[in-house]
């Protein structure tokens, strides 16, 4: 894993875990790698993985079964998507709107582009 320079590593690890869940590599109610194993795999300090897991537990994406380890929550996928949607609507969409306004792109043009994008996606 290549870590970007701008974001703290523990946040990047939480994103990595969410990605594994969304891609169904780690499935619901399944045990996820131990702190030590994931630290070894990602070559990071186990304390950082621990912090990422704590954060994911707070968000309800994973939960701890005492003595067994961390598991993917049954509603982890929805939780991740809800949080992403919120983040998109709150921080990314305003930037997009600003550019659309600045460049004077009309809604009809956007609609046409969006529809052809969706069609293109469906073909693949």
């Amino acid at each position: 894993m290549n870590f970007s320079e701008n974001q703290s590593i523990y946040i990047q690890i939480t994103e990595f875990v969410k990605e594994q869940i969304l891609l169904n590599k780690w499935q619901k109610e399944e045990k996820i790698p131990s702190v030590r194993d994931l630290a070894a795999e990602l070559q990071v300090n186990p304390n950082t993985v621990m912090r990422a897991y704590d954060f994911l537990q707070q968000q309800g994406v994973i939960y701890n079964r005492r003595g067994i380890g961390n598991h993917v929550s049954s509603d982890a996928g929805e939780k991740i998507l809800t949080a992403r949607k919120e983040k998109f609507l709150q921080s990314e969409l305003p930037v997009l709107f600003k550019n659309i306004l600045l460049l004077g792109i009309g809604f009809d043009e956007l609609e046409r582009l969006y529809k052809s994008f969706v069609n293109e996606k469906r073909k693949h």
Partner: protein, 278 residues
């Protein structure tokens, strides 16, 4: 816990290495020890291991004095120096002879580490390259599972895959009872492992803090524009822009750029350490 109080040390009286140095290190951390050439990184490790003795002041590890070199102390500590001398033995034979001194030595783990480093337990070290010898010694050091582990420039001389293997092994063998110090100039190699940074400069320690605390106070950014949301306290021009340290306005923690932090500690030590006074 490593506890150093009022430590003064010199090799020649005119040139003091440490002057009333104080330092406390706790278990459960991987410390990055940074300092310019000659700042005293290796000397500090030697004093902690009992290979050098303080001129005044005290060094203790869990209350034990390193200079006394008691067996119980030596069984729980391992130092891999920057320049190593390996006897003319195979790694396997070396472990047979030396592992008896380390009650927690794990032979299976040693074999696994050698394999990850692509080393043969039955090849004589005298026929190995410098990097291979270092790797054999690092594999042994990690497998001793001592609670105190000190590595002086661990990645120097290691090829690129070996550096990754080293990071992975260190992460796997670390636990909350252990205190690990990595002394290094190659911060990029070890950035993802270090959770606390110790910076030596001017005969003393000018910074000893967990990286997450540093990230709460300071923001590191690189930009083509010299602007930042917080007050800029340090900046250096680099190709295609400026690298800046500014006061963190939001409390949202980003990444700590150790190289820039180190440079700032050397250039503006007083200013920087003033942000971390308790």
């Amino acid at each position: 816990m490593v506890k150093i109080e009022n430590l003064t040390f010199w090799y020649s009286k005119q040139n003091r290495i440490f002057e009333k140095l104080n330092l406390e290190l706790n278990a459960g951390h991987i410390y990055g020890l940074l300092g310019k050439n000659g700042a005293g990184k290796t000397t500090l490790l030697k004093l902690i291991c009992g290979l050098s003795f303080p001129k005044s002041g005290t060094v203790t590890l869990d209350g034990l004095i390193p200079a006394r070199r008691e067996p119980g102390f030596l069984a729980d500590i391992f130092l891999v120096p920057e320049e190593i001398s390996v006897p003319s033995l195979t790694p396997g034979k070396f472990a047979d002879i030396h592992s008896g001194f380390y009650p927690e030595f794990d032979p299976a783990q040693f074999g696994e580490f050698l394999e990850k480093f692509k080393l043969d337990a039955d090849q004589n070290c005298s026929g190995m390259s410098h990097g291979q010898k270092r790797k054999a010694m690092i594999a042994f050091a990690l497998a001793t599972n001592t609670r105190y582990l000190f590595l002086d420039e661990p990645t120097s001389g290691l090829d690129i895959p070996s550096k990754a293997a080293f990071r992975s092994m260190l992460a796997a063998s670390f636990s909350e009872e252990k205190t690990i110090i990595l002394s290094t100039h190659m911060v990029r190699d070890l950035e993802s492992l270090i959770d606390s940074v110790i910076i030596l400069e001017n005969h003393n320690i000018i910074l000893n803090h967990p990286l997450d605390q540093i990230a709460q106070k300071l923001t590191f950014s690189h930009s083509s524009l010299s602007s930042s949301p917080g007050e800029i306290i340090y900046s250096v021009k680099r190709e295609l822009g400026t690298t800046m340290i500014s006061l963190n306005p939001s409390g949202i923690t980003g990444n700590v750029d150790l190289e820039t932090l180190f440079n700032a500690c050397i250039d503006i030590p007083d200013k920087l350490s003033s942000y971390f006074k308790h």
